[in-house]
Symmetry: C2
């Protein structure tokens, strides 16, 4: 599926194949008309050959991934922590890249006829009139005088070079969606304020800092004549934007393995998920910054405002679309009995989530951002309507897609370091970039943490700050953004530099996580369910209650009383929450399940709210019964031996955490939320087993 996008994949591969494929098809067409069988065979052979070549090229990547998987297993098996699978994928990619670049030379057997024809323009389409027959030619690209000679090798390299769009249209969406879909954790919501601050303010800050630093460097380079092309301030800002998207997947995996403090995890994970979205929109709005007149890259208030408007418009638009499709899915799954047919349910879920992306792109918004928020909505509402089986199926499906896409991107990164045609490595620029990235991250973390600490009950301690500073890895999103457009000199320079930044951060910071943790004396092995062992004593409950910020609680009251009941089978019946006047409406909107108490437990954070006294009053009876039944029905959860619903939420949250992070660490059982304690035991068991 994904056809029309996939049609763009390997645009360059395609470009080299096209002569043969198209030629063959056109020749077939001719032969059909006048049945000159021999030509027919010849061109069919050509097409076949290119098709085989094609399959072989793809095989390279598949085998790369397979190799990676096996090695990862070995690492997990031996418990090497210094190298994450993404880093590994990069290394393998590098090796293959070297081989392709220097090892293989294509025999110039498949030479395509070339003849020159003088015209006075270069239109997109050219009609060639050969003895009365019209042939349609399409513009393939400009050829540097140099390339004209050694096309053969380039062909080989271009073959394994993908169209940048594939990353945005095929590989990123599942990754981002999965991030959103697995982002349902109490600690995330508890730190919502800080996370938003880091993601929005922080990203913008680091973007501006990096941008201006690079601009200084660039102007300097121009002075000393180190810059052979244009490099405008907008380019610098663009660089700042794309480099500000963090992706600490490596670090998070280790955090999970070692059970590092949950707030730290939530801060890092939440920030990385949201700032991806911010970075995408930011970069696109920077590109949209076009002063009027001949574009002398001067500052212009109007254009500035315009691109700010673009930022807001695109972001909110994508957000709205994502949420909208999520809501639609929720309603469909609520009001149909699709849950009887898990396969249909899963398929529908998949298609709806995918259509979000297409819809957003079709409307000119950012599909990736839309998908992120769609994922969150699906997790928050639709997930509760799905049949248990579909819950597993969807989780596992997107987990798999995420895994494959992620490793594919990283192995491709390694590959492209050697196979990419127009690298521009400029030592000064690169050094400056590393410095700027470092400072930008610092300017993001430390000041914000200071400000946030003024308001936070749980301060972000200095060692946490250092850890967040250290965990500012750059990954898939940065790469995808930088490879998206490598036409100009500036962009090529950015791309090459970004590549190095990613390599460095993933290998060095990723690999050094454990050392950094011990160096910063951040306690590991935190039992995430400690509060549960404490049990539901007044203190515990009060503290939890006070931790949840007012914004968070207001939202939850609204969500729990109106949205949840409206969109899912869970929550209190609308008849209880809505004013009497809309009684009939409420009755027809509330699902029969909502009246049955055990259904309430299908929902995992509706109960969260039950701790807030003010709400509890409104339907205390339900609360009681919930907790009562909660004790025996949610048997698989940790919350079983405690009727403090927050703990159940906590449990579920950590369940999600386990799923997202340790998916490579321990044999997880998605069919039921694993006891974290259990998972500990399991891990130990494996360690002893292996």
């Amino acid at each position: 599926m994904g056809s029309s996008y996939q049609s763009k994949i390997t645009m360059r591969i395609w470009r080299c194949l096209q002569p043969f494929v198209v030629a063959s098809s056109i020749f077939l067409g001719l032969c059909g008309a006048e049945d000159s069988g021999m030509e027919n065979i010849v061109t069919e052979k050509k097409a076949e050959e290119s098709h085989r070549q094609d399959s072989a090229d793809l095989l390279i990547f598949i085998l790369l991934l397979t190799l990676t998987i096996l090695t990862i297993w070995l690492f997990k098996h031996r418990r090497f922590r210094f190298l994450h699978e993404t880093g590994l994928a990069m290394i393998y990619g590098l090796l293959v890249g070297v081989v392709l670049r220097y090892g293989i030379h294509v025999p110039s057997g498949m030479g395509n006829v070339t003849l020159s024809c003088n015209v006075n323009a270069s239109p997109a389409t050219l009609l060639v009139n050969v003895s009365g027959k019209f042939y349609e030619y399409t513009l393939k690209g400009e050829i540097g005088a140099s390339e004209i000679n050694d096309i053969k090798d380039n062909e080989m390299l271009r073959k394994v070079t993908f169209d940048p769009e594939v990353f945005f249209n095929i590989l990123l969406p599942p990754i981002i969606f999965h991030a959103g879909y697995s982002l349902k954790r109490r600690h995330f919501f508890r730190n919502l304020g800080s996370i938003i601050a880091f993601a929005f303010v922080g990203t913008v800050v680091s973007c501006v800092i990096i941008g201006s630093l690079m601009y200084g460097c660039v102007t300097l380079m121009k002075k000393i004549g180190q810059m052979d092309g244009d490099f405008f301030f907008t380019d610098c800002l663009f660089f700042g934007a794309i480099v500000s998207a963090t992706d600490p997947v490596t670090v998070l995996a280790i955090f999970n393995e070692l059970n590092v403090d949950n707030d730290l995890y939530a801060l890092l994970f939440g920030e990385s998920v949201l700032n991806d979205a911010v970075a995408v929109v930011l970069s696109s709005s920077i590109v949209a910054y076009q002063p009027r007149g001949d574009n002398s890259h001067t500052f212009e208030a109007m254009a500035m405002l315009k691109s700010f408007g673009v930022f807001l418009g695109v972001f909110s638009g994508s957000f709205a679309l994502g949420v909208a499709t999520g809501v639609v899915t929720a309603l469909v799954t609520k009001f149909t009995k699709l849950r009887d047919l898990p396969l249909l349910e899963t398929a529908l879920f998949f298609l709806m989530s995918w259509s979000t992306f297409l819809l957003a792109e079709a409307c000119g918004f950012t599909g990736v951002v839309a998908v992120l928020f769609c994922g969150m909505t699906q997790a928050h509402y639709t997930f509760n309507n799905l049949s248990p089986e579909s819950q597993d199926r969807t989780k596992q499906l997107f987990e798999l897609l995420n895994f494959l896409a992620e490793n594919f991107i990283f192995s491709y990164m390694g590959l492209t370091l050697f196979t990419f045609q127009n690298h521009v490595f400029n030592p000064i620029f690169i050094l400056a970039a590393f410095l700027a990235v470092f400072l930008g991250r610092a300017a993001n973390i430390y000041p914000l943490s200071f400000l946030l600490n003024l308001g936070r009950r749980h301060k972000i301690t200095s060692n946490f700050q250092h850890m967040m500073m250290f965990a500012g890895l750059r990954g898939a999103m940065t790469f995808a953004l930088s490879i998206r457009d490598t036409a100009t000199y500036a962009r090529q320079m950015m791309f090459s530099t970004t590549l190095l930044v990613v390599f460095f951060t993933v290998w060095f910071c990723g690999g050094g996580t454990t050392q950094m943790l011990s160096f910063q004396k951040i306690r590991v092995g935190v039992d995430t369910d400690v509060s549960v062992q404490i049990g539901p004593d007044g203190v515990e409950r009060r503290s939890t209650k006070q931790e949840s910020v007012w914004l968070f609680r207001i939202w939850y009251n609204f969500d729990h009383n109106y949205l949840k009941p409206f969109l899912t089978h869970s929550g209190p019946p609308l008849t209880a929450t809505l004013p009497a006047c809309c009684g009939p409406l409420a009755r027809c909107l509330t699902s029969p399940h909502a009246y049955e108490n055990e259904e309430q437990l299908k929902d995992d954070d509706s109960d969260l709210i039950l701790n807030d006294g003010d709400i509890t009053m409104t339907y205390g009876d339900i609360t009681v019964s919930t907790d009562a039944s909660g004790a025996h029905t949610s048997g698989t959860q940790v919350g079983v031996n405690s009727d403090d619903a927050l703990d159940r939420e906590l449990t579920f949250g950590d369940h999600e955490l386990v799923i997202r992070g340790t998916r490579l660490v321990l044999p997880m059982d998605d069919s039921e939320p694993p006891l974290s304690l259990d998972s500990h035991r399991q891990r130990h068991k494996n360690e002893t087993m292996s």
Copy 2:
């Protein structure tokens, strides 16, 4: 993923997009050089526009599928049986096709500059020299004098027309693999001989019959001047080959719903799975039939032999490759501890299965066939090594892929009836084709059944024969084969005709299945586990034993004693089965699990063989213990209350049956082989629920 193939998807879509996309990219390149920002913006806008258009087009298909899913649910809900989801998808496709064809007219806004240039040949690549700059142009295709004017609308239609290769390289593989992966049923093996006969002999027979009938018709038409193009005997044979691939998915679904006799199900399903493979290779080898000299389509012994050799070579080659990768996967999953990490396991399984396809294509064999046998091998060996979770994951993953691909193809079929550019509807040819298809099917079923009945203990009764005759639907494979090459007049005529054949069979035969069943007085509601209720009385066992044909038993002895232990954790330890001389080898190859008895039950048909006295002697002790432990460990299976292993195999078989077929009928629980009895109850429950 699937990049390089996907790059070919929507070749035609791509063709129309290319001018804009490529133009933009090239212009960007220019602007990079000389920074003419305005052009830059303009072309970027163009690219953006086409990208949006692109997303919108894809959205059409997604929404089509979503709509189909919802309607299917409604049908299942109301238990309409006369229309299967595939038929439904076709109808929706038809509607959209009509709209696209007659409703929408593209505003000719996105006009691409076109200028003519006279050269004396039409090379694949054209170098255009514009004021010193070289631009590379690629041959896009010939343009009919007519098309030159009304390109616009064609563009719109071509946009939603896929490259035929996409069906072979993206959509068919998961369907075929899933068929193979879910083809593990006792009744299949019991009827192996008959199935192979129907699939191989039958397909060839019907191919030849249809081919010669059509040739008669064609020559007649030439006489009366109804044929405006060439149509050779090879074309007729080709038509016979592609139309001989049956795909009774509709019928089988209903069979499941109604629990029709298992042997009948096995015969139909097995035949349809295998004759797909046969038809593919057959058609390709017919294409390969090329008499030497100027190809006057005369008969020539050498060429005949050659294409027969091609048939054997390609088929056996694909078979070998498929089995090989399956075996490799089995060994990897056996000798690594990947099962600790289900995600990795699933990913590996997926990648390996996919690489089969690529490998086969790269070697010049038929990927689809390879994938089929790979799926069978995976199901037979690898499946036993997978962790329970991965077993579910892989099953569900391929089930989903199969479902999506299948419905996508069928909805596309409906669409293409109106959007395809070069339909050639010839009433005489179409009538003849329907007649030929009917006769061909008859010449396949009846004589073969007669011959087979001479050898079969369970005769294929006449009403079964009529039912098989009736169930000769044509589906995805026929469509994919016929759309693959529509260059010549003959091929276009075939395509249009095939389309009608598919529509008719799917709607009429598919819809009339229930009526046909009652008309043929074929008993439905057969409890597949009746033999189990009878329990393990001597009679029962003896009968089962004698039913299994000698070939089947020889194979099973070998498989159980050597292959299973070598490739999986199950079966008896090799040390017990191999001659003493290879003791050490046997020891290191046998997995420790093999010595533990509970492991044996992971395997589902190893026990089957234990009924054959001659085998049991060789390691009677193990047998005993197996059955003993079988009683308490295989608790989820029906076989639990019976130590007749054949019943366990039976159960498993029907489990597979349930999974493959009723996936749309009842809420199935893949996490454990459902009791068929249970599934009955469940179904009833749903009926009452809904």
